[in-house]
Symmetry: C2
Amino acid sequence: MGDERELLMIPGPTMVSPRVLRVMAKPVVSHVSGEFVEAFREALELTRRLFLSEGRVFILSGSGTLGMEAAIANVVEPGDRVLCVENGFFGEKFKDLVRAHGGEVDRLTFEWGEPVDVGLVRERLEEKPYKALTVEHVDTSTGIANPIDKVGEAARDFDALYIVDTVCGIGAMPVKVDEWGIDVCLTGSQKAIGAPPGLTLLTFSDDAWRVVEGRETPVTDYYADLRRWLPVMENPQRYFATPSVPLLLALREALRIVIEEGLEERWKRHEVIAEAVRRGVQSLGLTLFPREGYRANSLTVPEAPEGVAEQEVRRLMREKYRVIVAGGLGRLAGRTFRIGHMGTVTANDVVATLAALEMSLMELGYPVEAGTAVGEAEKQLTRL
Amino acid sequence: MGDERELLMIPGPTMVSPRVLRVMAKPVVSHVSGEFVEAFREALELTRRLFLSEGRVFILSGSGTLGMEAAIANVVEPGDRVLCVENGFFGEKFKDLVRAHGGEVDRLTFEWGEPVDVGLVRERLEEKPYKALTVEHVDTSTGIANPIDKVGEAARDFDALYIVDTVCGIGAMPVKVDEWGIDVCLTGSQKAIGAPPGLTLLTFSDDAWRVVEGRETPVTDYYADLRRWLPVMENPQRYFATPSVPLLLALREALRIVIEEGLEERWKRHEVIAEAVRRGVQSLGLTLFPREGYRANSLTVPEAPEGVAEQEVRRLMREKYRVIVAGGLGRLAGRTFRIGHMGTVTANDVVATLAALEMSLMELGYPVEAGTAVGEAEKQLTRL
């Protein structure tokens, strides 16, 4: 069907508010017009408010992966030692990025689905000095949410620059960049912020920027060299490379919605909705993949029940009930599936998704009492 | 006024067809959905047809500057010698890119407004071996169109990889990648293709790709490392980084419009419209900046008449007549202004722009017989 009424319940890109979609369809304006320059300024200011940071902020055209690269490329020089703390598909990207830029990587790896153990992080930081430490906030492959506030304390105690990828976290869960001592924090536009994909957002603390300014070797990247971008971020009338005008205007609108709702309210909404999804899914006898107590509020990763092919569940949900959920990623493919619930997500979306899951499981012969998951979810959703 | 009825006559971003704008407002779909994967495939195929190339094509999220970086970063290794042929603001970017990636730059520089002299290019290529040669097709700062077919013959004769930036050319003027022996060719989405800004498109010839595959050192970029992207371009179901779903769908629609019109027809339309603008502007006594015979068909760069502040002309055109033209760039600021006429541009846009120019000049006391430029333009536009 071509009526575009599907529910997009994947962990990014997420559904975008009609308010934001309308902005996307606006005739393109000049990238140096007063209107656009003002919008860019506002987007930067709203980014600061979202990240709870007074540091330098950057918005670049490109995916979250470009943001990860900008974080590493500007900080790491050849020979620098970096501790990459990993427990998922996306966390493991950092080691490749550090190596591509000449850094020496030490990996501290946890089982997928297990959270980062801050005690072990401290042990490694005690062993030798590190210039920087990288970690995922929420790894979209496993649905884990790492205790990035506590990891930040460890990084600060050992004077390592603290680099956090919160592509799948910020906007859904608390990220307090300045309070938690995050030196470089990055995300993408297309997850819990609720804008379309194509932009990446970063913050740099004073400490991090001093490191950038004090580099002995030039940044080998050109487009991701943030010193080339700083003048534009300080005054968007300046030119370095043509920004994606419609994406920037859309991001501004999405960030306005975030701030209008309020961060505390938004975190609460995501917490209630996530708990509704988790309890609903579990009421059907399905197991959640990540360790309890460390489950992200932006997505839920159930394991497929024994004897049921998760591809079939997703196919039925999509084709019959028009609810799109994602398959497992990397080594979890075929074993788990992933339900995204962040950004513009509403209680109605959750009810529809759980109902579609129930009906699809029933049709595949898995024993379900109709309405069970939806009922469990409702008990949570009344807290909204 | 907020009715969004301005005429955007700058040399990029350009006005976007309502057909393309509607696509931008479509609810976001999954980047691994059948619908999106099919659209990505079609966009890649249409890109091949636009570039007249059977080579490898790449579409990345980011600006044209990212495309320039991808061209250099994948080909150039530390110590490689590159001849950078320059005659404008954008051509001069290549030297910085080559140096950022460890290459040795020799510059062959021509006056801004003068075309590249192929004889001098040959002389330099004779002096020593070069791994690659870079050149701008159309430099958006000066409005020059370089003879890239002839430069290509020289590059081939001396076995240098031929890298062409046609950000402001392709879609408006002939670019025959395979026939002219262009090894790496790149553009942005927001100029003569008529899509919004935020994507860059590249082609790599077999020779160029052999060089990439045979590198002795790794590419220091990660996001712009095209070997990481090749699997995605061969099968867009694969994942490397999340593509900008709406921009990709919009690009597909814009490329469909390009191919529906036909390349020959499109080149002819741009030639007629450019000639109309040039003759119209000259009929008012204004001088065109770039050398005759080498003026691009995508933009026109008049010099401001003596005694008239070009900022004032542009302000009146914008505020009173709602026609947006661009100021001079770099060392041409204050001395020239720039009229973009590419992509979706129509005869009506040209008439309106020249009328606004006439009226603004009159109001500023410059002697104009009303209707002169429009009349001259009409004599050309009947050729459409």
